[in-house]
Symmetry: C2
Subunit: 438 residues, 2 copies
Amino acid sequence: MTESRSTALLTDHYELTMLQAALRSGAAERPTVFEMFARRLPESRRYGVVAGTGRFLDALERFRFDTPTLDHLADAKVVDDPTLEWLSSYRFSGDIWGYAEGECYFAGSPILVVEGSFAECVVLETLALSIYNHDCAIAAAASRMVSAANGRPMIEMGSRRTHEEAAVAAARVAYITGFATSSNLEAGRRYGVPTAGTSAHSFTLLHDNERHAFEAQLTALGAGTTLLVDTYDVVRAVRTAMELAGPSLGAVRLDSGDLGVLASEVRKLLDEHGATETRIVVTSDLDEHAIQALAVAPVDGYGVGTSLVTGSGTPTASLVYKLVARAQGDDPTSPLSPVAKRSVGKPSRGGRKWGARRLDEHGQAGAELVYDYEPELGRLERPLLVPLVAGGETVGRETLGAARERHSRAVAELPMTARQMSRGEPAIPTLFEQRALT
Amino acid sequence: MTESRSTALLTDHYELTMLQAALRSGAAERPTVFEMFARRLPESRRYGVVAGTGRFLDALERFRFDTPTLDHLADAKVVDDPTLEWLSSYRFSGDIWGYAEGECYFAGSPILVVEGSFAECVVLETLALSIYNHDCAIAAAASRMVSAANGRPMIEMGSRRTHEEAAVAAARVAYITGFATSSNLEAGRRYGVPTAGTSAHSFTLLHDNERHAFEAQLTALGAGTTLLVDTYDVVRAVRTAMELAGPSLGAVRLDSGDLGVLASEVRKLLDEHGATETRIVVTSDLDEHAIQALAVAPVDGYGVGTSLVTGSGTPTASLVYKLVARAQGDDPTSPLSPVAKRSVGKPSRGGRKWGARRLDEHGQAGAELVYDYEPELGRLERPLLVPLVAGGETVGRETLGAARERHSRAVAELPMTARQMSRGEPAIPTLFEQRALT
């Protein structure tokens, strides 16, 4: 199972035809800046979460037009021979800055800044957007669920409800936002995400009766396992579980019915059997609202599937990747000029940006600052851009644990409104700081 | 760029722990039937669309526990040594039946029927669900968009708004449902989906002015290209385009503003310049409703992105994979008994099913028939299950074109209500036909 596949064709056709036209017109080598940002946060989100950075850096290193790739482009007549020739030695040689993975973002935050020739930057549009749009959408939903769970452990188990590779990415993202474990084994292998799981209803149904199934599971996995107790009758199942495993049973799982009511009933039953340490895990189409509603129930952990991997109503982060500056005229050494489309309803701001978070004396965030010049940051302005690629070399790689810790700190820094589940304004406003004209 | 990677870990942890427990209890080799079906259609869907079959067959052939995979499972202590030993020679050896790709489905339709030992069937749960849940969700949305476009060509261009591999699958699915082309180059290479694209706003902004950009594009790509005319002022851009390319210009693209109004204005302008054959393509957050609303506008093609790849409000098909029958007791030759969970709110029907579509004398579908016995089908009952895997060998592989033709026929067969964009009841009811007790 190798990760060495070329990512070069995870690209929209028009990027290569633009390249062809720019090579012909002579504009291909013009220095440019592209930025990725969200025009606004989705209606139900009070903050965005940067995710996908590590995956993007991996994919960028594999963005090479090898022979089979070039053969396809030639056979399908996507571009002409000079363009194929140019692509054959493609290797991104510019600089990339970005918000670090796990960081929060807001409308207009320049979460990725890509600097290089037009040719080398334009071909990365789809790859960057696909990775960040998916991962950031999942992260924003996952982070709210972690807030709603208020310290109780969360299990990611949505693989079955999304594309099989998106599932692996979602498991990785969930871990960054604070989930304890995932069901996805490939996420364990590829990224070191802790994985967990014990049994489904099919295991109970396979055996002649529930008692046989529980015995089989306890024999194979030990008393520390989690027994699924809602295949037939929950109360009878818990009694059987207590008979067979006693108070050392690890946990029971409820996957249907009124979870709050059932959890209380099961807790009482477990306690009566002295199983005060046996945990109750609930699953069954939970989202952040259902999790919050169970705050008063005796629940020890939540398994979340569909709503996590589909971004809980917002399956894409709607990030865009825009040319914001380019060299003026044909002199590649001239200072870059800001550029922006002038169209109705799709505002964008020309010029390279720098992001910072303004904090108060207690370390609480008050505003997202987006400068259109390189600022000298004050004592209470935390810089947000970090170097990811320098002169074509990856310099921003980090562990998943580092992103996880960063995310926890970044959310803690936001005002309390950030953790509200209701719809509302972004937790902090974005202030666009323009260089004073002198 | 190889497709030879093992898919074995695109699996939930609990499938392997169930396997371990079943190997220990002796139940692992019990003959079983698992079925995939939807409990109901999503609220806004009048029919479901089977998609993912070809991808599932590919992934199944690569479902092998090779040495690196086994090493990970051992290192991470997912399962014990006897289980690893069993997995090392895993190869699905049973039979799989399914609705053919492109076929329509309804609540309860057994779109995949997997027969084999518990051990060999249970480990396929997540792989099968991930592929079908994603692809069927996209297909159901895409099919409605094709209906709404009413014969005008559709371009799939959503790669940037979804996971980079989900994007490739979405492009494949869109083609099956009738889209003309996709922007996704990897879908072209991997599946032969026709790809298309010309330029983005960044190309116009890169050049010193719009005229330079258009000249560059026309020089490189010829007059048959599509010019993007809304970077600055649409009317001026169309005039410039006419000056430079004349009536042989292939198309212009509008990506913002009031598309209906703009299209009429641009059509008039093009016609005045004799460019009556120059097409108008519109893009910009279109969904099936926006497409339908543009029916009266002089539009020659639609590009669809976000709403397609996110399933237009329904990003997952909510298909489940359930054990429905197993051998009784320990005699593997005994007839299989139906089994089903008895839980609140999640109904499922035990026993293996057979699906058929009841037609009237005019070939119009009237009902989905789901038999719990192998029926002798009448003259007006079209059988829906086809063999996909027989004794472990793939027998159901077909071309993408075959699935595309099937889908077109399957939708044409449904009553007119199927093509309504409004919410409502499924186009035909599902009738569960039970064997009469004698």
